[in-house]
Symmetry: C2
Subunit: 656 residues, 2 copies
């Protein structure tokens, strides 16, 4: 604000420099001065920081010093990793992929049908989504373990956001909006990857995800009470209060005991098989195969007992045949475009977060690298293609990916195998699902999402970081008590608030000397550390920016006041030097420089000399270019606290 005007006034309060007698006379032969790196030119500087932000993984490195034809091949391989790994593909690997592919196929088919219901879409759309997107991903993706398809949380999110815009009973318009949403989700994911903005998804914290997922799992399970209890008039809201009211109100007449019997008994079977699989890892195939078995068994049961005539709701009809084209169903004009765009971006981001988290987890386990931005392009393309082939938003499923991994998958070929099984299902056996009871789908969903409620992770978060825990619980209760979108919003906002708070209120510490060393440490962490008489050493633990520069200045003065009060009581020597340890100060901006200037002036009036210790590369450069180094005196900037102390109080240092 009007530095001109400030300049005008400056002469009035002119700063008389410190008398030279009190200035440091540099008797001490410094071994090293504070380094001032050679000044980079502006372009290099900007390029470096641009590169570090957007190309920190150096994706073009393999292209360096290669002939043109090789560059083309490498480029093609970068876009389609299958061209790279397929050369080393062999029968042994295929054996692993085949078994894994068959296992996840048996798990995905009942899940697909169930999740499509969550999204208020016909069951075949769930199966479609397990056919085309996994194929596309197999060619373009670089994760070897992820299993692609529809997932519970994204299905719920899409279902609840879409029905706010169009009543699902208006099936055609609803379906068209779903494809539009998928289209924009794909576009958004691709764009993030192409413009190398992948780091944006890092802004949703682990803690927030744990809370959000847990809340979503509870919400999804509650929604299943409809199918499990055979309730006909069920609320459209997803919050726990509305759902429970709906359940209780329908208790007298709306529940169907046959449905309940089928649902509960198979749910028990599924949960027990899950428990067994967890206890004995060799039986991992049991929980993987259990859902398909349940579907077959319950379908047979209904068929034989004619339970559908006694109020047990069944799937009825799944359209036979492979994915029809849906290119002309996507809205490109009209009011629904903006709705589709908004929902697509939200669903696309959630899907991305899930897929990247899964990809990274398994990549770390098998120790291979995953390029986040390239993954986003692959996932985006897959959803883009999906939106044109009657699929809705697909992503990596955690439960199926874990089964895939445990069944011994080696490459993305397991996704191709799964995809082919789904294709055969679509072509041949969909009519057999006619008598599958809805209750069994509800049981499958509940047993699938129950693992997302991760109490252990929440406990660990509580132990490590209380603020993280607030984010986690905020997201959880937001989803459970209000809605999925609000929960998501809370998760993101709390994550941001945490970053901002940390930047506004950085820590500062008083340092003391550890005996028999020249090491200065926080006196609260090291109660042995002794302060040097007449000198106050304050460490600032953050870059000094506009958002905290005032606070830091005032906090340092407050430390000084507190120390002086203590000294007064014990009648020790007055403080004459204030050393600011700058090691953790990684950057400073114009506001930060102003704050230092104000600090310097305030101290001068109290007859206290300000000194800086160990400013980093960027900071020292800015201290010089802003002339602050001249104001404070270049000899007041030291290599280390120890050097500064040696200058101000040589005796103390020699004791050591």
């Amino acid at each position: 604000m009007s530095a001109n005007a400030k300049d005008e006034l400056k002469t009035d309060t002119d700063i008389t420099r410190i008398p030279s007698s009190r200035q440091h006379s540099s008797r001490f032969p410094y071994v090293h001065k504070v380094g001032k790196p050679p000044k980079q030119n502006l372009l290099t500087e900007l390029m470096t920081s641009f590169k570090e932000t957007f190309f920190s993984d150096d994706p073009l490195r393999p292209f360096k010093d290669q002939p043109k034809s090789r560059k083309f091949v490498l480029g093609l391989e970068a876009l389609f990793p299958i061209l790279g790994w397929s050369r080393e593909y062999n029968l042994n690997k295929f054996k692993g992929d085949l078994i894994a592919g068959l296992t996840i196929a048996s798990l995905c088919i009942p899940q697909d049908i169930a999740y499509a219901k969550l999204a208020n879409l016909p069951p075949q759309n769930g199966l479609y989504t397990s056919f085309v997107p996994p194929l596309v991903y197999a060619f373009m993706g670089s994760s070897r373990d992820i299993a692609i398809g529809p997932v519970a949380v994204v299905s719920l999110l899409i279902g609840s956001m879409l029905q706010d815009e169009i009543d699902p009973k208006n099936a055609v318009a609803y379906r068209r909006l779903a494809f539009t949403t998928t289209f924009f989700a794909g576009i958004a994911q691709m764009m993030l990857g192409i413009f190398r903005l992948g780091f944006l998804i890092d802004f949703i914290s682990h803690a927030a995800i744990v809370g959000f997922m847990g809340g979503a799992a509870i919400t999804i399970s509650l929604q299943q009470l409809k199918g499990l209890l055979g309730i006909k008039n069920f609320t459209k809201k997803t919050d726990i209060v509305s759902v429970m009211r709906s359940v209780i109100n329908s208790a007298h007449h709306g529940w169907n005991w046959q449905t309940i019997a089928i649902g509960i008994s198979f749910l028990a079977f599924l949960l027990i098989s899950k428990y067994i699989g967890k206890r004995n890892r060799k039986l991992f195939w049991l929980p993987a195969i259990a859902p398909l078995f349940s579907v077959i068994a319950s379908t047979l049961l209904v068929y034989l007992t004619h339970a559908q005539d006694h109020g047990v709701q069944v799937v009825n009809h799944i359209k036979k045949g492979i994915n029809p084209s849906s290119v002309d169903e996507i809205y490109f004009t009209g009011e629904y475009v903006s709705h589709g765009f908004r929902i697509g971006v939200v669903a696309g981001m959630v899907a991305l977060t899930e897929a990247i988290a899964i990809g990274r987890t398994f990549a770390a386990m098998k120790d291979y690298q995953l390029d986040g931005n390239k993954e986003m392009v692959a996932l985006g393309t897959m959803n883009l293609v999906g939106s044109m082939t009657s699929c809705y938003v697909a992503t990596g499923s955690f439960s199926r990916s874990a089964v895939n991994y445990m069944a011994g998958c080696r490459t993305a070929v397991s996704n191709i195998v799964m995809s082919i099984v789904v294709l055969l299902t679509l072509l041949l056996i969909t009519p057999l699902f006619k008598y599958t009871p809805n209750a069994i789908l509800a049981s499958i969903i509940i047993s699938a999402v129950v693992g997302l409620v991760d109490v252990e992770a929440a406990k660990l978060i509580w132990k490590i970081d209380k603020f993280d825990f607030i984010a986690c619980m905020g997201a959880f209760f937001g989803v459970v008590f209000i809605s999925v979108e609000i929960g998501l919003l809370i998760a993101v906002s709390v994550s941001f608030a945490k970053i901002l708070l940390q930047v506004t209120r950085p820590r500062t510490a008083i340092l003391g000397k550890l005996s028999r060393t020249s090491v200065y440490r926080n006196i609260q962490q090291y109660p042995d550390a002794r302060q040097v008489p007449g000198i106050l050493i304050v460490r600032v633990d953050s870059a000094i920016y506009f958002s905290n520069s005032n606070y830091i200045k005032e906090r340092i003065l407050r430390w000084l006041n507190e120390e002086e009060e203590k000294l007064k009581q014990s009648s020790q020597p007055k403080i004459r030097h204030l050393i600011v340890e700058m090691s953790p100060v990684t950057d400073i901006d114009t506001s930060g420089i102003h704050a230092l200037e104000e600090l310097f002036r305030s101290l001068l009036k109290r007859d206290i000399q300000l000194a800086l210790a160990n400013p980093g590369t960027i900071v020292i450069e800015k201290l010089h270019s802003s002339k602050f180094a001249d104001l404070i005196g270049e000899n007041m900037i030291f290599l280390s606290v120890a050097d500064a102390i040696f200058t101000f109080a040589p005796k103390t240092t020699e004791e050591a």
Copy 2:
């Protein structure tokens, strides 16, 4: 995300601990171990961080250990600082305040009339705003130098935002909305202060303010072309393109040469007197008195030449008498409440930013403390009272505050003096302004805001921080080419983006040993620093949070790869130890701990030992509570890099 599932899989990739032969055998008698402060209980911990965030200035300190009656007096004094300083008030101080008050009164009267026009309000509302709010502030504020009243930027902001809602020709509704806006501005300011959220205004960076103010000054000046050229049909938009088009289109018939002659000649006079005042500080009263002189001279001129009959537009009529009550004009119901609320919050924040910046600047010059939150309560109350007495949003004016300071003000009594002069003006001499030409008001505005274009500050920002410069220019061009609101939005967004970017892409550095010391420093900053063979030392320059934990892990591995490549070429010993210098790592969250775990595992596979040096209080606590300290081995956490090096490569240390 489903840590359960991760746990399930962990056994497969089980981590075999480092063979004990390679573990550090602690031959070296450490003087100090890494401090682990006594565990605070949760409540204390939360209270401390709450206190540091909201009560960092310890406002209740004077109340400690005081009897009840004294506490009451102190509380009253805290609310009304005048009770405190008036006890030490004397004739000498009054002399200073009287002269300063008269000077700023002569400056404020013409400015008030002119700024009211900017806000599309009748001239008397400008004068009202210089009467009540300064009085309230004098009792409640703690700045001694600020001059309260309407200011150019806030007037423009209100004018442009209000006319989007109501046509100013609909005078009554427009005025009512203006009071509603003022009411909510006051409420917002008060609330920020009461809930101790004052730190929020620190989020608008200095650079963004410089750009925004400069842009607003240009926009305001362009708006004055209407009055200066006597144009009748003028655009309502504020962007430079619309305004220039309006000016050029009216060139043939719409300009009035008499108006231009008066406007330009007095503008020249005002600018010259300003220039003289700047060159010779003793003549500071010249630019302060020039506007009032111009008004008197030009009014006389018009009166004598009957210029109003030749197309020179004049003020015509200013209502006589003091502020009428406007309590019943504020909208408390209906659609305008939400508009008033929104505009009020925006205008209130901008007004607050300006007032606090001014208050801080002058407080630093005279070396007294200013409690930001208390100031906000004072400013909020003053606008609240103002909204009920026909005033619009008042704040601290930079130009008048500077004049106040230079004229030798000692306390807020100068505001009372100014307020009384304005009262007398309202009661006695408003009819005399009848023949004041509008052109002179335009000249006064231009000469007042021209100082807000602060090229020197922008240059300094460019020199110190390129990113700040982008924020500055973004805000500037946003205001000039689009609108005031968009400029403000750009200013705030770029400021936020900067913080977020810094948190996402923190710096890391390779450290080397400075010869003949045990100091390890960035080898880029200190080209003399030598790396230790077989050991890589990486310093992480930021708290490790979810937003950067992946980046940090990957960046460290990239440093390692780059080093290993270099070593391969020069066939030097392989890297066996990687030391992460944690001094600047002020905090870590669950994601950060995960990243460290992943780093540890990746390194283990490459047969490289991870060690940490000097983790801070909070970090060491979290390393223990998350069991990471056990995973890595407690003896792999060192007090300093030097200690770690001594353990891994004792020879190197002994050389020194």
